[in-house]
Amino acid sequence: MARSLIIRKSIITIIMLACSILFLLPFAWMLSASFKIEADVFKFPIQWIPERWNGVANYKEVWFGKHPFYIYYLNTIKVTVLTTLISVTISSLAAYGFSKVKFPLGKVLFIFVLATYMVPQQAILVPQFILYRKIGLFDSHLGLVLLGSFSVLGTFMLRQFFMSIPNDLIEAAKIDGAGHWKIFWSIAMPIVRPAIATYGILRFIWTWNDYQNPLIFLRTDSLLTIPVAMQKFSTINGEFYSLIMAAAVSAILPLVIVFIIGQKQVIEGIALGGVKG
């Protein structure tokens, strides 16, 4: 690379670095405020590095105070892990069925499943609510998990990957006497593992952050997941901004970690189909 090009690239990098820092300032402010004593939160000029540290007390109050976050964390982990596992299983099965089992009904059924993707989630909240009350799934984690378990998007995404497996491979296995179940489990699944990881991580993030479903389908305080708990916490603690920021950090941090670990999968998954859920 020519020297002038390197200089040009460096200058642009520095400018962009400044832009990205500006872009991330809300996060920085949140993090810094979460370690301050209440009186210092709004001090101006902004103290980016707290002068008087109160982090331990703030986080202790958030995690083990009157509305202990550890309960909401456990709930969220339970709901998110279950939803992700079930959703990945159901979507993989369906994706295999729609792509590698050649059955005449398959095409019609696939169109039926795809058609349901056009229904906005919010347009069916009321009947879902009535249904849940009738069959006793209202205000339960099981109900919440089931709501996130049947993903058309996941099925569609995984189907694309199953389709890329050569049919000859399947036929060869069949001649060797393998049934579809065996082919699915020991040939197809290992091949599409990266796609499953991608979809799994995305489903994990979406479920963890879901606010609307827990808001409507849960009522008992001890069952809440983090987003709704976060909102309740901020309403109850109204003017204690340092506590609210400590709660916000606690709500965001786990996903930042998941994202950094699964960065490649997340970014590829998003880029791939331009997925949004």
Binding site: G106, R133, A271
Partner: protein, 314 residues
Amino acid sequence: MSLKTELTTPVKVSEAPKQRKVRKEKTENLIGLLFVSPMLLGVSILVMLPIIATFVLSFVNWSFITPLSELKWVGFDNFIRLFQDKAFLKSLMNNAIFILTVPTCMMISLLLAIIIDRNVFFKGYFKVAFFMPYISSIVAIAVVWQVLFHPSAGPINQVLMSLGMENPPKWIADPNFALFSIMLIQVWVSIGFNLIVYLAGLQNIPKDLYEAADIDGANAWVKFRYITLPMISPTSFFLFITGIIATFKVFDLIAVLTKGGPINSTSMIVWNLYETAFVNLKIGPASAMAVVLFVVVFTITVIQWVGQKKWVNY
């Protein structure tokens, strides 16, 4: 029917090839069904059934707490009232204004994507940095912005005042600024998604197009206008459509930040639906709103299918 009898009859000697094929097809049908049945069952009960119920309920007058026997059929009353309801029309209007966030966000993201794609070091860092808001809990983000936007003590207004602005806007507390403030947050949150999709789109443009343009002595603007922009148009179209659909579903930001206020200035269709159904317990009108929402999203999706062929130009 005839198929079934054929197959249940025990076949003694040797199956005719045709029969064997029929039999194979039948087992394949059964196996296929087994694989897709959990998904099929799930979407039938949790999506198909409810959307039909939504249409039915939009013609009734009923609330969750009253017995089913008090359900009244009111024909198109719910819809007629809806379109005379000032608050609902205001919500629709707000949704229409909110669409502006989509092209705004796309332009910023495309600019960032072009810069990040070729012209910087640490590409990986920038992807992660701009993607942060997208993976963060919207509720937590909304709460943080609520504090940042605090009219008197918030850091944003403190900065504005220190820069000599005497009456900075009250942001989400001011009916004239509230919607704009929420749009601002929406753009901030969505940049990451748009950026990643645009970066993927840019990768797919053949490099030799730019090399050819370089040989012809084209400047950066000409290359952008006549290569990048047309070649990236499928991505833009995709982002535009999904972006618009997403604006119609905006709920979390409103629910946490403003609850539709002040004076309905940030009420949007889904918020209105939620309030009507789950706060005021009016099932009929809420279902009518749901039908409107469904029709809007459905129409946009159809436009997407048709438009994909027509408007993507290169």
